[in-house]
Symmetry: C2
Subunit: 386 residues, 2 copies
């Protein structure tokens, strides 16, 4: 295996086709040669699947070498047998890699309500090589894809170390639920509590700032594995590198949202605090009326004002203090001329649309990422027939 995207030292892996549904890759495992620290976050859904429940327990001690993913079957709502299958997958990959089961996270994405075809899964696990070759993270990214239109990988250097992330997610999958999976591998050396703190801060500003359609998957998972082979790094530099990689992946996911034609970035500034900025940014990025206006390249600032207005608990937001821009074109509070609206519309015809909202209260800020809402989203999600 050879990976265009840089692979941190010591990560080995396999990818291939189990035959869950079709002949495309639907399986991978990436495992560190040496023990590694892990930090992981998972969906908070009340319907979280067996893979999430098992991985949550596995990551709880802060130590894990890697992850295995099966695509095209989510192993969700499969009852007791689903728990057994998740554990069997974990054990099979661990055995092949020569590590303990408690060192491998598992994740699944695809149709729900159907058990894994376990005979095929077992046959595939038994055929894995005795020693895993160096990981091909591009192929791993491809093996997770469902309705993604392209694999998503990004990488950055920090001191002598590398941070590489791969992700998948589009809004839902054939024919059921959205799943966002994101895995980060690094040879940087970090204490687990530090890794955990950094990862959660980065996730809050990246994956938790992403919304395709407000629907939350039962399988969302993200983790970073740090095996330390490149030695210690500056924590702040590592956080910056991890943030850069995560943000690239989030932007890739947003642009590749189901039916999406544009990346939508909503930047809220001047808030009382960052938490208030996040509430407002999410209200705007999730508003169907804002999202359809973005689709139509319509600088409809009234809809942005409406979405801000929905944050009814935020009683310190006063309409007279709010500013709304599209790109760098201000459309509120001064009534915009036709010429101004035309410039705003030009900005919105691009692939990346920025809506800025300044609340005029304090120094809090937050940026949320999403996409436009198009006929394509409806077609992808309505046309499946059982």
């Amino acid at each position: 295996m050879s990976s265009q995207t840089p692979v941190p030292a010591g990560f080995r892996g396999v990818a291939g086709n189990i035959g869950i549904k079709d002949p495309k890759d639907d399986f991978f495992a990436v495992v560190s040669e040496v023990p590694a620290n892990v930090s992981a976050v998972f969906t908070r859904s009340r319907f979280a699947g067996p893979s999430v429940l098992l991985s949550r327990r596995t990551a709880a001690d802060g130590r894990a070498r890697g992850v295995t993913v099966i695509a095209r079957n989510a192993n969700v709502a499969t009852g007791r047998v689903g728990d057994d299958h998740a554990r069997e997958l974990q054990e099979g990959v661990a055995r092949a890699a020569g590590v303990a089961p408690e060192e491998i996270l598992v994740a699944s994405t695809g149709v729900i309500g159907r058990p894994y075809p376990m005979e095929k899964v077992r046959a595939h696990l038994e055929g894995l090589p005795a020693e895993f070759p160096p990981a091909d993270l591009d192929r791993a990214a491809g093996a997770m894809m469902t309705t993604d239109t392209h694999p998503k990988a990004a990488s950055a250097r920090v001191g002598g170390a590398t941070v590489t992330g791969i992700a998948k997610g589009v809004g839902m999958i054939e024919p059921n639920m959205a799943t966002m999976l994101a895995w980060f591998f690094t040879d940087a050396e970090l204490e687990q509590p530090v890794l955990d703190e950094v990862f959660r801060r980065v996730v809050d500003r990246t994956f938790n700032a992403l919304s395709i359609d407000t629907d939350t998957s039962t399988s969302d998972s993200a983790a970073v594995f740090a095996n330390g082979l490149a030695g210690p790094v500056d924590t702040a530099a590592f956080e910056a590198a991890l943030y850069e990689v995560a943000l690239k992946l989030v932007r890739m996911i947003a642009s590749d949202g189901e039916g999406a034609g544009k990346l939508l970035e909503v930047r809220v500034t001047g808030a009382r605090d960052d938490a208030q900025a996040k509430v407002v940014a999410k209200a705007v990025v999730n508003s169907p009326l804002v999202k359809t206006a973005v689709h139509g390249a319509d600088p409809n600032w009234g809809r942005v004002a409406m979405a801000v207005g929905k944050c009814e608990e935020e009683t310190d937001i006063l309409p007279e203090n709010v500013r709304i821009v599209f790109g760098d074109v201000e459309t509120y509070p001064a009534e915009p001329s036709d010429e101004v609206l035309e410039r705003a519309s030009q900005h919105m015809k691009g692939d990346e649309v920025l809506i800025g909202v300044d609340l005029g209260i304090g120094g809090g800020e937050f940026t949320a990422y999403g996409c436009d809402l198009t006929e394509g989203y409806i077609r992808i999600n309505a046309d499946y027939t059982t």
Copy 2:
């Protein structure tokens, strides 16, 4: 004026064309001959317009005779001049009707960010008849319409009294924001505190259970006027009649949602309490993935489970206790056969789709009303270009 929908005793009114935008009716006023009790509720938007702010003050003392509405201009985000115009409208209608300004609520719906064409408004107010004829509530309902495809009116009898409601609302308006307006008139006699309590309870179970697209207008308003001319009525019977009328209007609004092809009713039972049932019902009725599945007549119970799972604070919801039905066809927890899915899909091909979710916890319940999400919604909301 003559109204097919029954008009309670003592309500007089006018409707006509100011010429805000086109020659269709865009104005009405309905006023009780005698003083009346009022209960009113308004949008909680931080961007609430001058009409809402003025009407909120006007209704605060529990006394008002009626309401006037201008359509095709929302008088929102119009600054100080918008406040003046709302007051001038209130005073003009009050003068024509021979009552005090503090007895008339005002409401507006339409494009935002543009002042009323006040010369036309003044000319129209000056031309109003010296004595208003009996109200034509069908014509009043029509005069409020924006992208509504038909006027919405309903009526019920309670003892010797009549309760009639009119409403408008589709999800948004040309080209800006959703506005839901609903007005109820009755000749029943009720103490104002009783009227208020009853109205708020009814609104909670009807208009607050309605969601077309999660976006909240800056102008939503609803009020009931009770002039007492038919004498006292049994409070419980009045509440039942008011609920019946309000529910009919809500179902009309949901079926007439922008681009909607179907009414979606989400009935949650077995909740810890009614509040929990409401949280879950709203999560399901608002899920874009559920709404597109309804559009496609796809009994995709996995998406319903996902939407229930999103209520992550509700930690007493356990997947193994949940039941999901489409119409009367159960699809979860037992894995549905093809024959069962086919029956569920048949139900979903009708004009009214019922999704039932039983949480298996307690006796709480709530029903939410919405509609499917279609290409039509995208077209209506994206194709406007400034």
